[in-house]
């Protein structure tokens, strides 16, 4: 066998290994699926409580078609349901996993293995995401649609677009998680950072309040940050209340942030390896 061929088959093997990481995480999650039945209940409750809060905010105007920040009550309800269920898919704890690896030192072994640590983590995140998509998001969405007045588009193109946008939400959120996790190399205790990140992502991504309802100065700042690409943009385009911003626009913004976030992520990863070698002597 020529060296080129071994290299090729080696690469094939490696690709297989990465796919195995997805599969293994998926199966691990499946073993713990009971947790997610309660998760579906709790997410439905979240949607319900938010729905009633907004209903009280709209007051009498809710049935009269009053809009707040471009949302009628029905659109707001749909937006909430879609946003929470998107979160059911894209959420993961990679930040915690990575900083645990760093703190107990097991990251040293993972770094000398013949694969890219960050890529492996992202693959595991994807395995978890696929599990969450099938056993958390889809059943949860079904329940939410039965319980609350949710209106979703019927056009298959909108659905395809939404799934692609959702995938980018996952990528961007996961990149932010990896960056937060890797920061454990440089900050003594990144517990606070992880909590801050969680809160910031939930609020600034528009999960709790759609970004158009924030005061003008704040929403114009938020439009310059990556968080809106996680929840607000896909959710509002899919439920159809933000006119003039199409699927292609949103995808463009998401791709931009995906590429932009690669820079700090790769840089942190290299800096972390360097630091590990220095410490290891």
């Amino acid at each position: 066998m020529s060296s080129l061929e071994t290299k090729k088959s080696g690469r094939k093997l490696l690709l297989g290994a990465y796919i195995d990481f997805i599969r293994i995480r998926f199966l691990t999650m499946l073993a713990y699926r009971v947790n997610y039945y309660t998760g579906i209940l709790i997410y439905s409750l979240n949607i319900g409580v938010n729905y009633f809060t907004w209903k009280a905010i709209y007051g009498e105007g809710g049935s009269a078609g009053v809009t707040l920040g471009g949302f009628t009550l029905t659109q707001m309800t749909s937006y909430l349901a879609v946003s929470w269920m998107a979160r059911a898919f894209y959420f993961n704890n990679l930040d915690r996993e990575i900083s645990t690896d760093i703190r107990d030192g097991s990251i040293a072994i993972q770094f000398i293995r013949p694969y890219n640590y960050v890529l492996v983590k992202m693959m595991q995140g994807l395995g978890e995401g696929m599990f969450r998509f099938m056993l958390f998001m889809i059943p949860g969405m079904t329940i939410a649609m039965l319980l609350f007045p949710v209106q979703l588009p019927t056009d298959p193109a909108a659905w395809t677009g939404f799934l692609v946008m959702l995938f980018f939400s996952f990528l961007i959120n996961t990149q932010i998680n990896v960056i937060t996790g890797l920061s454990a190399f440089f900050v003594e205790n990144n517990e606070g950072m992880m909590r801050m990140k969680r809160v910031i992502v939930d609020l600034f991504s528009g999960l709790i309040v759609p970004i158009t309802l924030f005061p003008g100065w704040l929403s114009s700042i938020l439009k310059l940050l990556p968080f809106q690409a996680i929840t607000y943009l896909p959710g509002s385009v899919f439920t159809g209340q933000v006119k003039g911003v199409g699927i292609w626009n949103v995808l463009g913004i998401q791709i931009f942030w995906f590429l932009a976030l690669l820079i700090p992520m790769v840089w942190l990863y290299h800096a972390a390896r360097q630091r590990l070698f220095v410490q290891g002597g």
Partner: protein, 251 residues
Amino acid sequence: MKNYMKTRLTYRADFWVEVVSDLLFQATNFIFILVIFMHTNSLAGWSQGEVIFVYGFFMVPFGLFGCFVNMWNFSERYITKGEMDRVLTRPAHNLFQIFLENINPPSLSGSIIGLIIMAISGTQLGLPFEWWTIPALIILSLSAVAIYTGIYTALTSLSFYSDAPTGIIPLMYNIQNYGRYPVTIYNRAIQVLLTWILPFAFVGVYPAAIFLQRTEMMKIALLTPVMGAIFAGIGLVAWNYGVKKYKGAGS
């Protein structure tokens, strides 16, 4: 105990990072309330000042709970890593030891801010300051902490039964916020849930109603200490039962 405080305070930077992250968490909830009242004048008959007052009250027991009853990492630290075995060999009650080992002083900053918020919004609302205000505040806060402790202890004791890392607690974290809003806006099922099953409404809107002189909630608000005792009891029983079932870490 004193030595313990010293070790915690050694890491000054950590301390401040945690204070900031705690306050940021509270700030986001504030932003939510402010944004809501940019678009409406009243939430089911509650004004902005009243909702903020309720939030201020909520922060007091929440901070105390975060400081003295920190069970966030219990399953990971004590079950997976086997530290529970060490705790069980000592004479003091195991739950008490775990509470002591996990004291987290930065959380108290939230309680202090909560008191300040209550004072400011209470003055703006023209709430009377009576002789019973301070004792009532202490009793209600302690009862609220007991409710929290009961709920979270019962949930944490689930990790004695299953070896799965319980993902319920982080999920629950969102729900506890909802007890702060006037529960009357929710439909019946959610009201019952927040009052009797996961009584987070007793950690926010009900006790605060006493200070706000909301007569319609007065009767139920006076039940707060009773609920505290009941739920602390449930938590303790569930815990002791779980410890009995516990067989030690794998090896």
